[in-house]
Amino acid sequence: MCLGVPAKVLKIDGEWAWVDVSRVHLKINIALVEDMKPGDYVIVHAGFAIQKLSPEEGESTLELFKQIAESEQR
């Protein structure tokens, strides 16, 4: 039920925005998320943006797990 889908913000009009969800364009409410601009990614739940998605991916953790895997192989 707490399903959220990532979407890219295309156009902002006050408290509303057009977003792209897997090439489907939806109009969602963005009153719950501050400082949004076109190009941002958000999580959409029940017609609302509930949080911004930050682009920084956890690459550092990948490194960490590679190290664990390598230490096992030794």
């Binding site: 039920m1 509930i50 953790t61």
Partner: protein, 365 residues
């Protein structure tokens, strides 16, 4: 091999290594129903060794909603000039005698909506009808309902009302954590609830109950990473609440959404299916907003709710029993003819087991 494949391979190897190093059997609980589905769909249970058990938790709002609320919704649907607006998840959930779907067949009026604001505009378009919005969901959803109530107030709409069955996750986790029968060693915590509430509200689980947790995203690779982080904490003797889903979960959560929720709702004791009444785990509308509270303006007249005979959804939700232990599972209870809510909801443990485990068994034959 691309980077994503490399990451998945490294993580699977890591999970297997760390699993192999365990000295004793451990129990992890994935709290959220969306995680349950992702785990089954991706076959993550098959990667884990026998020493690790993944238990599905109470994080499916539809499943933990007691019959009383469904009975009220059914009553509303059958009243003249009244429409029940609901998310699709609740449509087929059986109450004591009937589901909303069955009420609709009897002439009741039920409108499925994707956003609570659709229910507000329905009220705008039909001023001679009462629109009762069925407010089900955790902290992910409650702020949106609060926003809808404020919109209705601003538009001076008094035919829009909310039947609030909202619940909050940390209080339920306290009940689960304090149950010695479950013997939990780690929690995979819900990602989208945490988008709103942040990381901090879970700290007590590590501090008071000694159970580590990781707030996880919903991609299989993210769940694998969360499992690795949990294993690592156990190996290193640490006990913390960590965040794997960092790209969406800030430490403090979404302050804007939390503010809206606090404006409209007050905490109250709430009944959870399977867990009983949990103090301060529910959200009721503040007196200031009682004009939009269905329970105040237009209270439903229902009989004492009855339970479904033979259904063990309560024990399944709390992780004490597996769906396969229920005599109804796969016999008289299936997604086409669900007896309990765990089979109805696409994120319910019984529905998920029916879809993935049974199918898996057939494939082996």
């Amino acid at each position: 091999m691309n980077q994503q494949e490399e990451k998945i391979k490294a993580l699977i190897y890591c999970v297997k290594c760390l699993c192999g190093r365990l000295k004793e059997n451990i129990n992890f609980m994935e709290v959220c129903g969306t995680h349950t589905v992702a785990i089954h769909r991706a076959g993550i249970k098959q990667i884990l060794c026998r020493k690790t058990r993944l238990i599905s938790g109470p994080g499916c709002p539809v499943c933990v909603t007691p019959n009383e609320l469904v009975d009220k919704a059914v009553w509303y649907a059958l009243q003249p000039k009244t429409v029940v607006a609901t998310f699709g998840d609740m449509f087929k959930v059986p109450g004591s005698d009937s589901s909303l779907a069955e009420a609709q067949v009897k002439g009741g009026r039920v409108q499925l909506v994707y956003s609570p604001l659709e229910a507000v505009s329905l009220a705008e378009r039909h001023p001679d009808h009462k629109i009762i919005f069925l407010g089900i969901g955790f902290e992910t959803t409650a702020p949106l309902i609060a926003y809808a109530v404020l919109s209705a107030r601003q538009a001076n709409l008094h035919n829009f009302m909310v039947l609030s069955g909202h619940k909050t996750v940390p209080e339920a986790l306290e009940k689960i954590a304090s149950n010695p029968l479950l013997n939990l060693h780690g929690l995979i915590l819900p990602g989208h609830v945490s988008c709103i509430i942040g990381r901090k509200p879970y700290d007590f689980l590590a501090r008071q109950y000694g159970i580590p947790g990781v707030i996880s995203g919903f991609e299989p690779v993210e769940i694998l990473e969360s499992l690795c982080l949990l294993f690592k904490q156990i190996m290193e003797g640490r006990c913390q609440i960590e965040v794997q889903y960092r790209r969406a979960v800030p430490e403090e959560g979404n302050l804007q959404a939390l503010g809206l929720m606090q404006e409209v709702f007050a905490k109250k004791d709430s009944e959870w299916r399977g867990l009983g009444v949990i103090p301060n785990s529910g959200l009721t509308m503040k007196e200031k907003y009682s004009d939009w509270d269905a329970d105040v303006v237009f209270p439903a007249q229902i009989d004492r709710p009855r339970q479904h005979r033979g259904c063990i959804c309560g024990s399944v939700i709390t992780g004490l029993k597996e769906p396969e232990e229920c005599s109804l599972f796969g016999n008289s209870c299936s997604p086409e003819h669900p007896v309990g809510p765990c089979m109805v909801s696409s994120e319910g443990t019984c529905g998920t087991h029916f879809l993935y485990q049974l199918r898996g068994d057939f494939n082996e034959d």
